[in-house]
């Protein structure tokens, strides 16, 4: 692969990331993050999930912005392995990120 093609690859990936960032910030509120989707029936589970998130994930980073329920499942699955979450932690954090 030539140097030019490598640079083009990096540029394309950068452009893709920027495009997705712009798309994400302009998404309608109904698709947006967990703070707008809390249901009364799951309020306690969500609160406990937030607590677990702060205890485990929040040690290194904040919750991602604009996370849909389907995305949240993949993200939490990944973090279960990375952060060695218990099954209960995984369930509650998912409840918090995607109630």
């Amino acid at each position: 692969m030539s140097m030019l093609r490598k640079r083009a690859l990096v540029a394309a990936l950068l452009a893709m990331a920027c495009a997705c960032a712009v798309a994400g910030t302009s998404a309608p509120p109904s698709q947006n993050r967990h703070t707008t989707r809390k249901q009364p029936a799951t309020a306690s589970a969500t609160a406990e999930g937030e607590k677990r998130f702060r205890a485990h994930c929040g040690r290194c980073h904040n919750p991602p912005e604009d996370l849909s329920a389907r995305e949240a499942r993949a993200v939490v699955r990944q973090m279960r392995v990375r952060a060695m979450l218990s099954a209960e932690d995984e369930k509650l954090i998912l409840e918090y990120l995607a109630p």
């Binding site: 990936l13 997705c20 205890a55 290194c60 060695m84």
Partner: protein, 370 residues
């Protein structure tokens, strides 16, 4: 000076050998990920959607009069399959731009690509997950938890990072990990692994994997957000050696403070780093102009025991202190700047860093965000 540049650069720049092999490996990895995403596309009815996340950034460093720049992107792909299987991978693509002769001459760029990990995770139960493939070396916490450019508080990797992660921080093999005990007041986590050597193994290539076995165990106290742990590795490639380490991570609830540190020991020597960051969120909240600011400081020392070829560590005892400022802008953008001073019997020099980083996350195909 070459060592200093390599030592201060992100993990992807630690070696410059095997470029063609590296490129081929990256392309293979990307091809695999694309293939997997394509196969997932064929089953849109599934509830989980693959996501692409990661960090993109532009880093600049001036060390001892030599200035270089690194535009970097490190995408992470996570592809859940069913309830038990997850395929995940991360690659790093970066350009290393520096003057041709160090301090003089025109700027030249060199492209680097790194397959950091590409692994299949099989969750057996809540206490055990089996990992197959190429994974980040679970030695202490920096490599696994802090290496993403949008996470670590200072852009320079610690001096002792390469102790326990000699093959660029990745291994090819099998790993078992999980939360062995999970109580309200404490949790015990563990990781054990075995990795084999591969044809690209040497101290410089970042696609290498050494024959090694090891593990890490930690105790986490959720109510204190305090974790203590230790690591061990038996390195069985070339010079056989035992490597050990310990780490601490503490983020008290009572203050927006983040304290992390590691100690590592090997045949080459031993050392530690200790870092503290304080978010000024008490001044108007975390979203205020001042509350977005986070000063950070780190002190580290390395004590050389004996020379071991290819260990990528300073040849003499070295100390370094760093002070930095991170500013967290909205939408996952962060501005960083730091100043460090390195002390050794060979030289004392300044290390300046600045960076703009952005954390992204989006579904692998349109419509996945609904």
């Amino acid at each position: 000076m070459g060592f200093q540049i390599l030592n201060s650069a992100p993990r992807g720049n630690r070696g410059v050998a095997s470029r063609s092999f590296a490129t081929k490996m990256s392309l293979r990895m990307l091809a695999c990920v694309c293939l997997l995403c394509s196969s997932a596309l064929a089953t849109p009815a599934q509830s989980d959607v693959p996501v692409i996340s990661g960090g993109v950034g532009f880093l600049g460093t001036s060390q001892g009069g030599i200035t270089f720049f690194q535009p970097t992107i490190a995408p992470v792909v996570a592809l859940p399959i069913g309830d038990h299987v997850l395929i995940e991978g991360r690659a790093t693509f970066e350009e290393f731009i520096a003057k041709q002769n160090g301090e003089t001459g025109p700027y030249h760029g060199h492209f680097f690509d790194t397959a950091d990990y590409l692994q299949l995770d099989y969750s057996v139960n809540s206490r055990l997950t089996l990992v197959f493939g190429r994974f980040l070396t679970p030695f202490n916490i920096y490599d696994e938890r802090l290496s993403p450019i949008w996470i670590h508080n200072l852009q320079d990797v610690p001096i002792i990072f390469v102790i326990g992660t000699r093959t660029g921080g990745s291994n090819d093999g099998v790993m078992a990990r999980g939360a062995l005990l999970a109580r309200d007041s404490y949790e015990v986590n563990y990781t054990v692994y075995y990795s084999a050597s591969n044809l690209a193994n040497n101290a410089e290539t970042h696609f290498g994997s050494a024959r090694a076995a090891g593990g890490r165990a930690g105790v986490f106290f959720p109510r204190k957000r305090l974790e203590l742990g230790g690591s061990y590795q038996r390195y069985m490639q070339d010079t056989h050696m035992n490597v050990s380490g310990a780490y601490v991570s503490w983020q008290p609830y009572s203050a927006p403070l983040d304290v992390k540190g590691e100690y590592a020991h090997s045949l080459s020597g031993e050392g530690y780093w200790l870092e503290a960051a304080y978010r000024l969120s008490r001044f108007g909240g975390p979203d205020s102009a001042i509350g977005r600011l986070s000063p950070v400081a780190r002190v580290q020392q390395f004590f050389r025991n004996q020379q071991v070829p290819g260990d990528l560590l300073p040849s003499v005892n070295t100390q370094q202190v760093d002070f930095g400022l991170n500013y967290y802008l909205p939408h996952e953008i962060r501005l960083s700047g730091s100043y460090g001073r390195e002390f050794s019997s060979l030289r004392n020099e300044n290390v300046w860093n600045f960076a703009v980083t952005y954390r992204f996350l989006f579904p692998a195909w349109p419509g996945g965000s609904r």
